[in-house]
Structure formats: structure tokens, C-alpha cells
């Protein structure tokens, strides 16, 4: 049972470098999400997708781009990394909109990103 898999698990970037975080789910879920988690702030939504080929902005989208070319994959890109993007990034997927009754979201194990 792979569930939601994130790669890489750890990464250190220099300011201005770019990278892509990959999220893969094998549960045939329509909805996928990217969150960042910072101390004392809980999880904040960066971008989300309600199906293959669709993406939408969340609460904190600036500095990030996403793509959902295949239903099972949701990519998060940082074009020019900044120290403020140092965080733990979580991907999640679910059958329906997060928070609705009988709709459970499943999270990956996270990617710890440090920008120096």
C-alpha cells in the first residue's frame, strides 16, 4: 500500500535555484493538494487540483507553480527559491473536497526543504 508518496524527502537549495517536488498517489483520487507546514502556523494550502489537467491557487501560492498532467501525479515547482520557502511540504489526496463528511484526505510523509 503505497498511498501518497513524496520525493525527495530532504533537499537543501541555494537561493535562486529551482526544483520540483513530486507527489504520486495510487488511490485513483481526483483531488490533490500541496501544503506547507511552518512552526506555530499549522498547514497552509499552496495549490490544489480537482482533477487531471486542473489546478487552482490556495492560501499562499506566490513563488510556486504546479502541474497535474496525470491523475496520479501532482508536481510542485519552485522557480527561484528564497529562504522564506524553507519549510516542510506535504502533499495530500482525496476522493472529494477536503473537510467534507465521509471524505478523508491522505497525506504523504513530507519533504523537508531548506533554502540557504
Amino acid at each position: 500500500n503505497a498511498g501518497v508518496t513524496q520525493t525527495p524527502k530532504f533537499r537543501v537549495l541555494k537561493t535562486g535555484q529551482s526544483m520540483t517536488l513530486l507527489c504520486a498517489q495510487d488511490m485513483n483520487h481526483e483531488y490533490m493538494y500541496w501544503y506547507r507546514q511552518d512552526p506555530g502556523m499549522g498547514l497552509r494550502l499552496i495549490h490544489y487540483s480537482v482533477g487531471e489537467g486542473t489546478t487552482a491557487k490556495g492560501e499562499v501560492p506566490d513563488g510556486y507553480n504546479v502541474s497535474r498532467l496525470k491523475k496520479q501525479n501532482f508536481l510542485l515547482g519552485l522557480e527561484s527559491a528564497a529562504p522564506s520557502q524553507t519549510s516542510v511540504y506535504f502533499c495530500a489526496s482525496g476522493l472529494g473536497q477536503m473537510g467534507l463528511k465521509n471524505t478523508e484526505a491522505f497525506f504523504g510523509q513530507g519533504t523537508r526543504l531548506t533554502v540557504v
Binding site: 501518497v4 506555530g40 502556523m41 494550502l45 495530500a92 473537510g99 467534507l100 463528511k101 513530507g110
Partner: protein, 112 residues
């Protein structure tokens, strides 16, 4: 300012003690969820409550949704070291078409 404020932010208790974690907002939520997150892992859903005043029990954990659907609480009876983790509330905000927000989190440590 976070939409969902949790208190306390940190809690350290002895095994066997009881505790309550609070999740408060000035906004109304269509539903509210509680998650538990262990170090190095993603959050795992514990419960979803959708009706004002609703109480749900999960073994030693009791979850309550406020009558006005603006707040929630998590009560743990006879805490065990296995309860250690970060507890997150999260809710679908009614006025924004159920946009989903996470709370600030409560880090619980249960000392054997």
C-alpha cells in the same frame, strides 16, 4: 492571524492524566476535523464533526463541536505515551464555500 487558533500550543503531561485541547475561531464552519501527526509523518485524520453540539468518542478521545459551529475541543482521558504527537484541528469555512483551513496545532508530550 490564523483563522483557527488552538490552545495550548504545547502540553506536557504525565501518563494517566486527562487533558483538553481547544480549537477556536470567530468564523462558522460547515465541518471540523481533528488530525494527529507524528514526527516525520503526515497528518492522519481522527474524526470529522458536522453538526453543532455533536460529540464523538474514539476510545479515550472525545471530540465536541460547539453549538454555534465556531469551536471544537478534544479531550483525552488517561493519556498514554502513544498519544504523543501534534494535534491539528481543521475546518471547512461556510462563508467561503467550504474553503479548508488548518489550525495552529497543539504539540502533546505524554511522559511515562
Amino acid at each position: 492571524t490564523q483563522l483557527l487558533e488552538q490552545s495550548p500550543q504545547f502540553l506536557s503531561i504525565q501518563e494517566g492524566e486527562n487533558l483538553t485541547v481547544y480549537c477556536n475561531s470567530s468564523s462558522v464552519f460547515s465541518s471540523l476535523q481533528w488530525y494527529r501527526q507524528e514526527p516525520g509523518e503526515g497528518p492522519v485524520l481522527l474524526v470529522t464533526v458536522v453538526t453543532g453540539g455533536e460529540v464523538k468518542k474514539l476510545k479515550r478521545l472525545t471530540f465536541q463541536f460547539g453549538d454555534a459551529r465556531k469551536d471544537s475541543s478534544l479531550h483525552i482521558t488517561a493519556a498514554q505515551p502513544g498519544d504523543t504527537g501534534l494535534y491539528l484541528c481543521a475546518g471547512a469555512q461556510a462563508v467561503t464555500g467550504n474553503q479548508f483551513y488548518f489550525g495552529t496545532g497543539t504539540s502533546l508530550t505524554v511522559i511515562p
